[in-house]
Symmetry: C2
């Protein structure tokens, strides 16, 4: 079929542009000299425009249309791919061009406005932009599907198939079953390990420990590498080229350890996707939520386990003989699971983290159904965080202005963070039925865990939906009660 | 004028592709994981093809033609640019497409064949490819200009305006005035500093010394960076983004020191080009020869001077207290100017280096005028190196097979290496009239030398020809006698 050939060719062309933009972005985030900024945005802006032109070209639209009209003649994988292509197109091409252009300008500008507003603690300066962003997003969602709740369309952008109904169920479960528990634990939290956590750890030694972790987690160094950046992230151009970064903070050892392990979760996922998908739209992890489930699984279920510290405390002592003096593996375990009610999401621990997400979900929900106005956000925010965690921001920079997401138009993204953790708990209990996780950690055999995840999740890339994967890996639909159970079991033990 | 606008737009488009390919290449040479090779060649191959299509498109050809027909209406800079564009096009578009495609395949294949041949010391396996490469290059040169000597066309590819007549004069001067001197010095060379040169120097300390050199040479770290690679090189995307690499060898300290300084010469040149040329064909250094003159000037005229070691031996002692014990700045100066007749070009010292180039020029010349056949090259090679340096290869891997250039179709490139050194000597004597170079080195004020070179050479980018620049900087045409004088003065002193 002629259309298939054309489709393949055009996808391949897009891949080349994406490849270039990924490498340029990687360079920019990890080493490019400061003064190169302006020229780079001009050059990569040009390439992005070319890519966008390809993605929305008449020829591509026509080809996808033809294939979509003949879906039943295609094999399963191609069907999935064409449906994805069709959906991506539908989300863009129904938007009038001038509105799209205006929106792109708005977003670019809003990020600078947000930065300044955060810096100056001035929500008034930002709220006009936010209001417009919310309106545009609603409008665009309705262009795509005028019959659906706009927020559902946005949620689906980041987690295929998830609706506000399902997220409501998820967050209501947390509100009912978790909030009281979290408040209770937070009250019991203490400063016993502050010294261990915040004393000085030379960066050079931290680097060594991160490299050691790469090996322990069986990361394939011939198909990837570790570097540093201001905000840790993982990028890939193919399973044979997966790069992660971490952040070394002299006075906070857990920053690099858990950034490295978290990103190793993302990276291992990407390294284990089948290379068969390289030239298709089915490459890479399937969704934000599933991706985050992997990074959280590695970070929390493995990296913050007692077995982990029983196994690796020896290496830690070797690298930090003075700093570790007088402490045990159990201390490390407890210190790495320190709980504290904080105001800032990205500094939150495993237990309080979902509270931060819940509040953002509540707010997005209300913005979308119109039950709250952009003007009222600071107060709504502060009330909610106080309700969930018992702390109240002194200003909007540590409240509603703290995150970049909304200024970039990302509405519907936040809930995937909590969803990922909840997925990882469900995966954890499924894995426990087949593997002795603690023993594998102690045996320095995380590779076996990697392979289990490869077989159940990773190898499929985006060829399965998140819902299909959750059923395949755990034998049942997504069920938030595993998450509550996991957190209660773990933190009850630590805090008696 | 409509054509100017079109021309500018197309050049800008090409710049974006070049930008992407440069960053991808940089990544590939300095850190990309090993297994990423295949995918990268596919992706960057695609982008290169797009770039080539732009460069040879009807639209571009048409635009250049229109501008060329109206040259006199254009300002000087645009005239120069259009002429460059016209010449580049003429060198490609007159070649029949099938021949061009065949040649590209031949070259890609030949590099693998050459690698194997070198590895197996088997010239017979390579000579068939070399013969074809020579024939194609002759043919292509004649397509461009059937009236000129084909070798002149090739020489002009790498050094605008240079002909075999001028190179003959240059190399004949060296043969007459330098060969006997070199042979004499080589006889006097000894192994007094072998220990100082080849003892162990920890790489970490070498890295520190290279970073120190970056500062001493006033390299702008906000507009560039230093990394490592197998073969040191310098790449740039604009004067605000200039990256160099060096190579750290535990048992050869001068590798990193002089690679760093050499590349700093290239890098300083690129950093000091006017950013006005960013979006034109006049960006970057003007020719191979002028570029090499800068790298050699920094490496040899500054880095291998007595003043250099008198100034920086202190830092060297600080980093290598044990290794430097019992030595003086004078020893460092002498050790870094150690002369030895070697068989391998890339290992040659400043004095014997031009001998290696001379022999390659002789051979290219003979290949081009047909006075020697590809079959006879090994013997011709061995005879010539013996004549110039008194050493004879035991096999072709250390003889005719040692360099990659010919397998990549680069005929006419080699002479620019020696030309660069000769230019640098002429520039050196011109600079000495205006600056006290030694004193500036001792005053840690290399920045003043940088600025002198910026003003006389660097800032012009490619807007001036090599010949124009040599006249501007030294007040006279290129004159090889400065080179002979410089080498004789320097090495007579060292070797009495």
């Amino acid at each position: 079929m002629e259309a298939i050939k054309k489709f393949r060719e055009m996808i391949k062309k897009m891949k080349a542009y994406q490849y270039a933009l990924t490498i340029i972005g990687w360079d920019s985030n990890t080493e490019a000299p400061r003064n190169s900024f302006e020229r780079r945005s001009e050059m990569s802006g040009y390439l992005s425009k070319e890519l966008f032109a390809l993605r929305t070209s008449e020829k591509y639209q026509e080809t996808v249309k033809v294939l979509y009209a003949n879906l039943e003649d295609l094999d399963d994988l191609l069907q999935r791919e064409v449906k994805k292509a069709k959906k991506e197109l539908d989300k863009i091409v129904n938007i009038p061009e001038d509105e799209y252009v205006d929106y792109m300008k708005l977003i670019t500008h809003s990020q600078i406005v947000w930065e300044d507003a955060k810096e100056n603690n001035d929500y008034q300066a930002f709220k006009g932009n936010l209001k417009k962003i919310v309106e545009y997003n609603k409008k665009f969602a309705l262009y795509y599907d005028s019959d659906s709740n706009p927020y559902d369309t946005m949620l689906d952008d980041y987690e295929e198939g998830m609706t506000s109904k399902e997220y409501d169920h998820f967050f209501n479960t947390l509100k009912r079953d978790l909030v009281p528990f979290v408040k209770d634990i937070v009250r019991k939290s203490n400063h016993q390990y502050d010294e261990l956590r915040s004393q000085s750890y030379p960066k050079e030694k931290q680097r060594e420990f991160s490299q050691y972790l790469l090996d322990e987690f069986a990361f394939d160094k011939k198909s990837g590498l570790l570097k540093e950046s201001v905000h840790p992230f993982t990028w890939n151009t193919s399973p044979e080229d997966v790069r992660l970064t971490t952040k070394y903070m002299e006075n906070y050892i857990f920053s690099s350890i858990y950034s490295t392990i978290h990103e190793l979760g993302h990276a291992t996922y990407e390294q284990q996707v089948s290379t068969d998908f390289d030239d298709t739209l089915l490459n890479g992890g399937t969704s934000m939520g599933i991706h985050e489930s992997q990074s959280r699984f590695y970070e929390n279920n493995i990296g913050r386990s007692l077995a982990f510290w029983q196994t690796h405390f020896k290496k830690f002592q070797e690298l930090f003989p003075e700093q570790s003096q007088g402490y045990t593996a159990l201390d490390m375990f407890k210190a790495s699971n320190h709980v504290e009610a904080s105001l800032i999401r990205i500094e939150a621990d495993e237990l309080t983290y979902p509270m931060h997400i819940m509040l953002r979900y509540d707010i997005e929900h209300m913005l979308m159904d119109g039950s709250v106005d952009v003007d009222e956000l600071p107060k709504v925010w502060n009330d909610l965080i106080e309700e969930y965690l018992g702390v109240r921001p002194k200003n909007d920079s540590e409240g509603v202005l703290q995150d970049v997401h909304w200024s970039g138009g990302m509405l519907g993204y936040f809930p995937t963070y909590a969803l990922g953790s909840a997925y990882s708990a469900q995966i954890y209990y499924a894995m426990k039925k087949e593997l002795d996780i603690d023993q594998l950690i102690k045996d320095h055999n995380i590779q076996k865990i990697n392979l289990w995840l490869k077989d159940k999740i990773h190898k499929y890339g985006s060829s399965k939906t998140p819902k299909e994967l959750m059923e395949m890996v755990s034998g049942q639909k997504f069920n938030p009660s595993y998450y509550v159970r996991y957190l209660k079991e773990k933190y009850s033990k630590i805090y008696n």
